[in-house]
């Protein structure tokens, strides 16, 4: 990894850690200037791009993430039984615009059933799903 690669990785790490765009520009330019003036291996001068990005973000802080938008999906008190087998018991999920949600769990715990109910493909025994979109 040469100096340019190091700087590129460093910039990507700063983005990844939610540093502000202007701050990233300045910090990367300053590191580049330092390397140009002093020479040296960026790994020795600054350390790994990951560790240095973490130290920088600790010094300058991060920008707040995008504010969550209006509620797009609201599933409340979802209960589903197959015979005597309770697949879902009072499960709830709220997802706002711009959010990414993951439904995780062991095999057979009801993830697919829950998502089918959210999508309106099957009906819950109890609870309510509200989906609202912009269009």
């Amino acid at each position: 990894m040469n100096a340019d690669d190091w700087l590129r990785t460093f910039a990507a790490e700063l983005h990844h850690r939610r540093a502000g765009h202007d701050a990233i520009r300045h910090v990367v330019a300053e590191a580049a200037t330092h390397l140009r003036e002093g020479g040296g291996d960026p790994w020795l001068v600054f350390g790994s791009p990951q560790a240095y990005a973490a130290a920088i973000v600790e010094s300058i802080g991060t920008v707040p993430g995008p504010r969550p938008g209006p509620v797009r999906l609201q599933a409340q008190g979802i209960t589903k039984r197959y015979g005597r087998h309770v697949v879902l018991n009072d499960a709830s999920l709220t997802v706002r615009a711009g959010q990414i949600a993951a439904v995780i769990g062991a095999n057979g715990c009801g993830k697919s059933t829950f998502l089918r109910i959210c999508a309106g493909l099957i009906s819950p025994d109890a609870g309510k799903v509200t989906v609202s979109g912009p269009g």
């Binding site: 200037t33 002093g38 001068v45 600054f46 560790a51 010094s59 300058i60």
Partner: protein, 112 residues
């Protein structure tokens, strides 16, 4: 071990050293590192120095400005603020009050 020890001491006073070096005029990262080395503190890597400069900037003890310094590339010049001057006075006196008795104790230990 001596190298680790020096690193730990530096972490405690590098901000004060930087403020003190900026007292008589603005400077930039690479030059500050060279000044510290020339003063006998030893080599300061960029990975140690810039986080300190950025923290000083964020807390308003220094301001920074990108400029072409005569010949050479554009550099980010740091300058002491009034708050920085006050922090230097306060922190510097606290350091001197701390290091004097430490030196006294250690000197007795080493000489004895």
């Amino acid at each position: 071990m001596d190298y680790d020890r020096r690193g730990q001491w530096l972490r405690g006073v590098l901000d004060l050293c930087v403020l003190a070096l900026l007292r008589d005029g603005e400077s930039y990262g690479y030059q500050l590192a060279q000044s510290l080395d020339a003063a006998g503190v030893g080599p300061i890597q960029g990975g140690t120095l810039y986080p300190v400069l950025l923290r000083l900037q964020r807390t308003g003890l220094v301001t920074a400005q990108w400029r072409h310094g005569g010949s050479g590339p554009a550099r980010k010049y740091y300058r002491l603020t009034d708050d920085g001057r006050a922090a230097l006075r306060h922190g510097g006196n606290a350091w001197l009050a701390f290091v004097a008795p430490v030196t006294g104790i250690v000197t007795k230990g080493v000489d004895g």
